[in-house]
Assembly symmetry: C2
DNA sequence: CATCTGTAGATTGTCAACAATATACAGAAA
DNA sequence: TTTCTGTATATTGTTGACAATCTACAGATG
């Protein structure tokens, strides 16, 4: 009996996989992963033949995937020239931060009204782990936890459209981060997270929203500073396969 | 001499056209237009062969365009079944309105600080036209002016990412509106627009943001009421080519 | 030497054919 | 009649080939 349940369950699972896993979707996920992991850095050219060969498919699905990724802001398509991983200019990163701040303000206000004990527990757990990561000086772990913290907030807000929009923006910011290697100032960031969680917990609608807004905008400020510092040091080295942006 | 300038100028124009106008882009624009105009109503099935024939191209570019449109939220792709114009359920429209309210709040606050006299003039001109449309009882004209008013606000805010996000959300809301045929209560809406413009003009940052937030949320309320009323009357008639949404 | 021109190779854009899947419908069985 | 089953048809998924365009580079020209 239990084996039958298992069989049915895996069968349904496999069916679900087949339902959405066209080669186009496979290619999209795979290419997105390559970009997010940094294997394909900003400015890199995406060769259709190479990608198709790597995935073991023809160019059709790859091209469809690339057109989809263009809409998500991860790549840029130049007719007859090719597809490139987008390089987010500082001005655009600025805009994205500002937009993201507005979204998180909404999230803070909403959560101050609706958050549950279980959700609060998750937030505090993440903050605790961040403390440890800071103590260890583990930047990567902190960055990952930071993403999870904000991601959890957005998720808890219970608005899927908001979550999807937020995800898209964060993806683009991630691209920018790879460009500049900018890093936050951690201890400050952790303290702000605690204040945010506290404001949400005590139901302070306006404060929670304002704190999240300010947190994101402060993060933008730190990004700007790090960017300016690195910009002077390394100069505008441009990856191969990239043409002048002047157009 | 002037004819040469003209020739060069039109030449550059034609070149610019050719640069972006791959058949894929052409197909995307054309299909999007068909959806927005209502020629392809929500729930309608998009046949690849038919579209390709109408546009005089092969299925390849059409498929790429459809994959792009999927990411913008205008269509839904079901593997091996086809592509359908999305039907936005009321719950999703709710979410979009809430998100849009947050964005417009940001717009209001920003504009209260940055708006120029010329921009204010444009806004007042639009409001004046709305008055006339209401006096004539011209619903279509009013709706169009309403879109332009909010579009102008968003544009004036000077954040391209915000503008792009906003455009996407409004497109989806437009899809929902076609579903329900819901209409705003005009006189109330006009008064709110005037209050918003005044708050922006007098530089009241918080008030302008709050008014725009409330305006959008009130608009959502009116939408809900109209939707509920129509829902009872007409029943859930489902367009042809559509399968049960239960999955 | 610098710049231009033309050609060879690589890459993208587009198409048409084939394979895999879903849909519609006729006929059988209860 | 209703329901099931099998088959014909239509539609989507995928591929490989060809055309159009761009890039790199060698040789010509000043």
């Amino acid at each position: 009996m239990s084996s039958m349940v298992a069989r049915v369950s895996t069968g349904a699972f496999a069916l679900e996989l087949l339902r959405s896993h066209s080669l186009t979707n496979l290619a999209r996920q795979e290419i997105e992963q390559k970009i997010m992991s940094g294997e394909l850095p900003p400015g890199a050219k995406l060769n259709e033949n190479t990608l198709a060969a790597q995935l073991g498919v023809s160019r059709g699905p790859v091209r469809e995937a690339l057109r989809a990724l263009e809409q998500t802001g991860l790549v840029r398509v130049e007719k007859n020239r090719g597809v490139f991983v987008r390089q987010i200019p500082i001005e655009e990163a600025d805009e994205i931060y500002e937009l993201r701040a507005a979204l998180e303000q909404m999230v803070g206000s909403k959560l101050a009204r609706t958050i549950t004990r279980g959700q609060l527990k998750e937030l505090h757990a993440l903050i605790g782990q961040m403390d440890q990561a800071v103590a260890r000086g583990d930047l990567d772990a902190y960055h990952s936890l930071n993403l999870r913290f904000h991601g959890a907030l957005v998720e808890f807000a219970g608005n899927r459209k908001l979550a999807e929009t937020y995800r898209r923006l964060v993806n683009e910011l991630n691209l920018f981060r790879k460009n500049t290697l900018a890093q936050d100032h951690l201890p400050t960031s952790v303290r702000e997270h605690r204040n945010i969680a506290d404001a949400i917990e005590s139901g302070k609608v306006e404060i929670a929203g304002a704190l999240l807004y300010e947190h994101v905008m402060a993060s933008r400020e730190r990004m700007r500073i790090a960017h300016a510092a690195l910009g002077k040091a390394s100069g505008p080295a441009r990856p191969a396969g990239e043409r002048s942006a002047g157009r």
